[in-house]
Symmetry: C2
Subunit: 214 residues, 2 copies
């Protein structure tokens, strides 16, 4: 099997949000797709180890905030490389309650869903949601997984369905600095060593010392 | 609910293939996503009215041929706007048997899968497939649904999960010629009326007379 073939599947970049006993929480995801058109239903795939999985299970609802190409990439890190069990992820983003669900307002659109079915796998739950509400938030183009990977140089969290596929090396470049937490590869104009000590990873906000030379 | 919000979900364009008692058949789809990474599993959504649904159910296997931006768009029409019950769709494409499954060789990659679970909805079946084999076929970039919609000007078949979303008009243009079968909008340099009688829709191969002025 050639794992690079998986890279040819196309995805968007989403924040899946839900409630944890009245507290907004969620995680980054790229596995979301429409299943039926009438009534509109959507499927998402969430790892059992994601705290969001337990919260969707208990609350019976989830929302999808669709990120745009101009969304701040740190949102992906905030929701993708930390656990909602430990911190209030929504404290660091601009959000509003739409259709009783917490929505990241920096995205280009959102959908709110009620869980109507689910399918278990060894590692992930596929939640099937009936869409209750949906709206556009901006004219920004939707961020694709490919855009995130190629332009923003981001990686997938370990719990993502696409983790293995994305982390299979395709080509080796000499001497690059990689964030050890989220996998972001520094490609700025200035040499990495000359960056100020206050430099932080634009994706997951880890300090400069979290970068390793490869 | 604003149906245009659904357009912000990102997809690829795929040919889902399977066997019908030893005869290769399949359909066009954009709803395919990775569910877990280890073991690699993929979910697809297929309408109950698609002949491919019954054939996947009976054979227990399906394959995903991932189309590229340079794939001939008529493949989408061949597999999307006709029924495999009536014709041998694979007769009009270049295909090979890979991992015991029929694969469209003009795509950029493929995956072969064994059905391990499924979830029924009112109109579609979500098949969960364990990936048995996967490989790259070309260096072509994967065709996204957005590319198909914006660049090739294609539409979704009525059985697609995205059908309503895509066919909600966003803007009206004066006097355009639209294929009444597949929805392709003619936007060539020459006036439509002056095209030769032999002109056929590049998507679904219908004759010139199938086009209606709107």
């Amino acid at each position: 099997m050639n794992n690079n073939a998986f890279r040819n599947l196309s995805y968007g970049v989403y924040i899946i949000s839900t409630w944890d006993n009245g507290r907004a929480t969620g995680c980054t995801a790229n596995s979301a797709m429409q299943i039926t058109s009438d009534p509109a239903t959507i499927a998402i795939s969430i790892n059992h180890n994601n705290y969001t999985n337990k919260c969707i299970e208990e609350s019976g609802n989830f929302a999808i905030s669709i990120l745009g190409e101009n969304s701040d990439p740190s949102i992906i890190g905030t929701f993708g490389f930390q656990s909602g069990k430990d911190i209030n992820k929504f404290d660091s983003v601009n959000y509003e309650i739409k259709g009783n669900m917490p929505i990241v307002m920096e995205g280009c659109a959102y959908l709110t869903c009620k869980v109507i079915n689910k399918m278990e796998t060894d590692t992930h739950t596929v939640f099937l949601g009936k869409v209750l509400d949906a709206d556009i938030l901006s004219e920004d183009s939707p961020m694709t997984y490919s855009y995130y990977h190629k332009v923003i140089k981001g990686k997938s969290p370990k719990n993502a369905p696409t983790y293995i596929a994305e982390n299979t090396p395709v080509e080796k470049k000499s001497e690059k600095y990689v964030c050890s937490v989220c996998g972001y590869v520094y490609e700025g104009d200035n040499p990495f060593e000359e960056l100020p000590d206050e430099y932080t990873c634009p994706i997951c906000k880890q300090p400069k010392k979290a970068f390793k030379k490869q």
